[in-house]
Amino acid sequence: MASFSSLSTGLSTGGILGMRGLNVFIQDIRNAPSKEHEQKRVDKELANIRKKFRNTDLSSYDKKKYVLKLLYMYMLGYDIEFGHTMVVSLINATKFEEKQVGYTATAVLLNESHEFLRMVINSVREDIIGKFEHNQCLALALVANVGGREFSDSIAPDVQRILCSPTCLPVVRKKAALCLLRLYRKNKEILVAETWAAKMVKLLDNEDDLGILLGVISLLIGIVSHDYRGYEGCIPSVCAVMQRLARARSVPQDYLYYGIPSPWLQVKCMRVLQYFPTPSDPDYVRSETEVIHHVLTNTGSVKNVNKNNALHAVLFEAVNLVTNLDLPDQKSLLAESVAALGRFLDVNEPNIVYLGMSGLTRVCAPDTIKAVQSFKSKVVDKLNDADISIRKRALDLLYEMCDETVAKDIVDSLLRYLITADFAIREELALKTAVLAEKYSAGNARWYLDVALKLVEKAGDFISDDVWHRVVHVVTDAPELHVHAARVALEKLRLNSYEEKFVRLAAYFLGEFGHKLGASEPPFAYAKLLFEHFKTSSPTTQQIILTALAKISMHPGADDDLRGRLGMLFRQHASNKEVELQQRAVEYYVMTNVGNNSQKLRSVMDPMPEWNTGSRQSKLERHLATQNAEAADAVRVNKARGGGAIAPIAPPPEDVEPGTPIPTMGIADLLGGAPVPRVNGNGPAAAAAGGEANGAAASPAAARWGQVRAAVVDPMSDLLSGLGVHPGQPAAAAPSAAPAAVVDPLAASVAGMGLSTAHAAPQSNPVPTINVADCLKKLYAADNGLLYEDPNVQIGVKSQWQGNQGRVMFYVGNKSPGTLTDVALELTGNVQGLHARLAALPAQLEPKKQQQVLLELAAAGGYRAAPGLSLRYSVPGQAPVQVPLKLPYGPHRFMQPWRPANPQEFFAKWQEASARHSEAKVVTVAPAMAQGGLAAIQAALSSVRMTPLPGIDPNRKNLTAGSFARYGGANGAETFALARVESDANNPAVFRVTAASVDAATAGGVLEAILSQIVP
């Protein structure tokens, strides 16, 4: 025994005993100076392991060593699938040390759908029913972590037996309880309430071991969260455990966490009770009430972070329990809960503030709303917190606590916050503000309109079309608002409001209600403003302005002069390259100019009929509801985000009800579609936006804060030291500041290694029928073109760019004679600085059919390249195809022309930029460029939106160019990107291209775009 303990001490201090080969390998990887070197080392090792695995009589030591090496490479992101057989086969070994490695690696590497797992079901079962507890534990843990349905079918009875057997060791029974939980999740039929409930009661009643109780109660939560019926008999037992912990009766020292009797078990007990209805037996009601009351009134703030967290976690769960039950003292308990949660807001600890707001949001009900509202001003302050998590909670809470008494205050606060709010939250914020404003606008429609207009004006790019569509609905139904709406629209347009969505809304109002403004504002006055905005608007907005202008031409007071100008505008755009715009221009031209048909056509331009908002559920509220439903549906996590985004694409029936007497119906054929409803149908795909408000892209605010973070911390430093909390010293001081920035050479050496090398199974993709690289090059400059084509699929692209926004429509066509299945087009990865949202593609594509899918891009900050795109599809009977594609949408896409007043201005900018970041490359250009000389280069520069500035560089053989982007929208700061092209006196085909920008990623991205156009 003595020798055993000394051995184990030796192990625990370094673990360097044995496995020398593994340590050397890890050290080699850490020493690799670059990703390439690492890859080389890994490849060498993989080749070696492949060779070794062909050898059938590997020693036990070698098997373990190689499997652990594979596990390490897997963590670095390398594909080690070939080793799965060996990994799994270690489970069949007889020795514990091999089994231990086999079980552990299997549980980490595989998931329940792997075929390999089925191969070892028998070995696993033998280990479980065997007599050796360590093997039992390994096997139970494997099943508990990755077991699938097959395990459920074959070993559930064994696991049940172990759990209920008092002769089995506690360590095994604990694992059996959780293993059974996993099996139950996979197959609900293995536990039937009639027989199992009694056993659960017995397990809970006769158990003293808090470890086993934790497992059993976790199992009970799993069961009752599915269906509590039949398990009511467990309530008294759970109450008893809760009482035992709350009074700290017979709780061994080991189970005190910073002096608190197992807070985890306390939380679980309270959680399990939430799934049951309030018990009828007054004893248990009293018991529950007592514990809750005790927790609610006896939890204060303490200095130790961990203790504080644990205490507040228990308190939080007690509040959850109160809200889920209907106890006789409910009123006073709720009041106590709200007061306790309110105190969370004052704790100087962000986690507790976060939880406090989550709790208050949950506890908000008619009975408590007044009490919750008393914290309103504190919550409003939290809207300006540095932490997005806190800001989101604050927004949710304000939304929940809103009623007619505080609606004005809250909506005002939200509007104020909108101006400074960052992108990650704006969309949700705008949506919630709009819903609240409408919900509490009774009797004060004008207030609603003012809020809505402000919202559209301020949040512009970040509101989904739904929001302004809804404003249109409400205003249309409130005739008293018409004049006001038109007047405000007019005034704001005069003040040069350029927010696109606002212009759309204003155009709509003027088109519908402009004539109600009276004689002081003749049609020409407001039509003129729309003319001006027409020039600078995006095609979508132009369509709406065209419709508005067509309507204005029918307003009383519209003279021939105005009609003449309109006619010219329509004619001019009758050949617009935007199909939609072209069609409208042609239609309106005809409608406003065909004399003998004018009466019939004139009716098309009648104002829109009432919308009946009252009888329809607001689309916005539906939108929020879908978001919440989605959040509740945890199963969807594994699916791509597309699920929630598809639904709104097809206009819901409420929007265009069949049979609604819309004046355009009669001539729908002639016009090839009713023009007016289209106003509301513009960009329906954008309606999908709300669901993604929680997108993963890091907010600019977060990035800004990131700069003040401490530098790399020494990996040798003690992990717990930064917290100032050691297990031995539970009352240690509050966390100290981050440890000093010590840059460790080891840490630096691994810094360059990425994690993204996920290897898919080898595939034989069809050969593209176009030169994909060439097409990509063209698309760097062109808006429209082909992105990809193979014998089965063709992808065309049309894109529109405006300010910091881009809309890219992919046209995915099936060229093959059969139906393609599992079709998907997905973005791969996130790019910081670029918000990208790709709608989902239907999974089936009929032969010779085309589907459109919209990609929306918004540049929020500098970035180097757009995320990649992945095309997947299956031809029946063939292996699935997966094609990675590049997107040519670098930062150059958002560049706007720049004209410096003089060379000095350029050089000042150049110096400022190149001091921060510049990237240069000497390249041999394509023959056409070499022949064309600087003129050709100049054309290439402007094709990627770098404004050539000839004459600035004193050397006539050099060329400069410059543009700027406004990341983050029209109000964003200008980020300049400058470029310089220098010729080589000796070789006309060689140029040196330099790009500079204060933003490194922008410089790199712009250089890449320029090079795409000039090198062969």
Partner: protein, 160 residues
């Protein structure tokens, strides 16, 4: 329940990853990338919870390492945060002032210990002493085999 546990360094290198829900390799790679990016971008002193898709990421930084547990939206965040602390305290006891290098070179040990703390995405044991004893027992078994202290039929000697 806990969907996955992830340990990674300041540089985004994964030191440990364990999934309790069936994620495919591709989904895992994507998740690792998103989670590390999102958490590493957050300055210190903010709260230890951040929303990610339909999950909540509860994380904590210890010197150069981040420990992250992804849990259901409905989970009690603070108690999950203390699971992390619980695990780190156990590692600390086992390695004696644990540091990142311990976990790099003994990553398998970190997995063995994790299996004593979390099973099926649930907390399994809260007694540090008990876990320390179990892990020590397993280490002894392995060492005993190395010095030949096994029965002739290959079954290891039981603890005396």
């Amino acid at each position: 329940m806990i969907h996955f546990a992830l340990l990674f360094s300041r540089q985004g290198k994964v030191r440990l990853s364990k999934y309790y829900k069936p994620y495919s390799q591709k989904e895992r790679a994507k998740m690792v990338k998103e989670v590390t990016t999102q958490i590493l971008a957050r300055p210190s002193k903010l709260c230890n919870v951040v929303e990610h898709r339909n999950l909540k990421l509860v994380y904590r930084r210890y010197a150069s390492l981040y420990f992250c547990l992804a849990v259901d939206d409905t989970e009690n965040e603070l108690i999950v945060l203390e699971i992390i602390q619980h695990y780190v305290e156990i590692l600390d006891k086992y390695f004696g002032n644990v540091c990142e290098l311990d976990l790099i070179f003994n990553f398998h040990k970190a997995y063995y210990i994790l299996d004593e703390v979390l099973v099926a995405g649930e907390l399994q044991e809260t007694s540090k002493k008990l876990i320390a004893r179990l892990v020590a027992d397993q280490d002894q078994l392995v060492e005993a085999a190395k010095i030949g202290a096994v029965e002739a039929d290959g079954t290891p000697l039981q603890n005396p």
